[in-house]
Amino acid sequence: MGTRTYAQAAAAGIWASGAKHVGYIPSVTVAPVIQALVETDGGRDGVSEHVTPLSREEEAVGVLGALPLAGSFGAVVMQDNGFGNNLTALTTFSVSYHLPLLIVANTRGSLGEYNSMIHSISQHVPPILRTLGIPVVELDRRSSVDDWHDVIAEAGTHAVMTYRPVVVLASFWNTDGKVA
């Protein structure tokens, strides 16, 4: 357990959450998470049977958010600036229809950010999501690798038990990962 990276722990936590299928919107920060998800699912080059790329965050909510309607459960891996793209889908579909969904997003709005624009959306993501009644759990350097795994796994359980989307915001700054 002690030798795995934060990204590997995040990926293992997503599977441990009970997610049967994962969709992702690429970012350089979550690329190691995606790589770990794909490898543990027997795939390569960013694709496996149960891990698939998507082109935009709102369709990720539609595709993965629909799985509970068939008795299944899905997860989305994305970057936090993408919440600007999927808030309508999250609220009118996942929240309104009481559909559980785990979203794990890396953050770009605080320490370690070099881009002078992206924080304009990213730093406001936690209060925006909380205003909409979407639970947010935040992870950063102060938590251990094992804690990242456990928090992400439990966030998925929380989504299923409460019939709603749950968001984990993960800051990779000063971990073994990278911000961007």
């Binding site: 539609g62 595709v63 993965l64 958010g65 799985l67 309607l69 008795g71 309104s96």
Partner: protein
């Protein structure tokens, strides 16, 4: 052919299929014809029919469900055209979208969509979908039957007249009731926990 006439045929053709339906006039008109447990009305999720249908098509793979049917409009599809390349890329076997194309935003004052100049069926074909076209009731039924048996993502591009049916009641239901009803109907047809 008017929308409600096309929907009347689709009601007959989809009694045993999960049906994901776009918002506003299309959902209302469908519900006025038949309000069944297999109907998933997306009451306000514009553009999301194709994405939801894609997710469900992935989830029902390996079951006896022949196709997940999405009923979408041209205006709504243009709000999330990613549905086409994503469906073509993921290529779920059991995905069938019926595009009711009247070239206007039928629930939004009849303002024009791009569909007058852009062929949405051709976009789907370029993205890897099997595409059929229909402009009357006979071709709708024939092409639906063909595409329902065609593996992979399929799109039935139906040209319809602009305009909504008169005196159709709004669909004022709690979305959670739709979730519970549809989920119970669908999961009863799945032999195991879906992927």
């Amino acid at each position: 052919m008017r929308r409600i006439e096309a929907l009347a045929h689709l009601v007959e053709l989809t009694e045993h299929d999960p049906l994901v339906v776009t918002c506003a006039a299309t959902s209302r008109e469908l519900a006025s014809l038949a309000d069944r447990d297999n109907h998933l009305y997306l009451l306000d999720s514009m553009g999301l029919v194709g994405s939801v249908a894609t997710g469900l098509a992935i989830a029902v793979d390996g079951s006896d469900v022949r196709k997940v049917i999405g009923i979408e409009g041209d205006g709504s599809l243009l709000m999330n055209p990613n549905v086409l390349p994503t469906g073509g890329y993921l290529a779920p076997d059991r995905l069938l979208m019926v595009l009711l194309d009247n070239r206007v935003y039928g629930s939004t004052a009849g303002l024009p969509t791009y569909a007058d100049r852009v062929d949405l069926g051709a976009l789907a074909a370029a993205s890897g979908w099997t595409v059929g076209t229909a402009d009357d009731e006979a071709s709708l039924r024939a092409e639906f039957a063909r595409l329902a048996e065609t593996p992979g993502p399929a799109l039935l591009h139906v040209r319809i007249e602009a305009g909504n049916a008169a005196d159709i009641a709004k669909l004022l239901v709690d979305p959670v009731s739709i979730t519970l009803r549809f989920t119970a109907w669908l999961t009863a047809r799945l032999p195991r926990p879906a992927a």
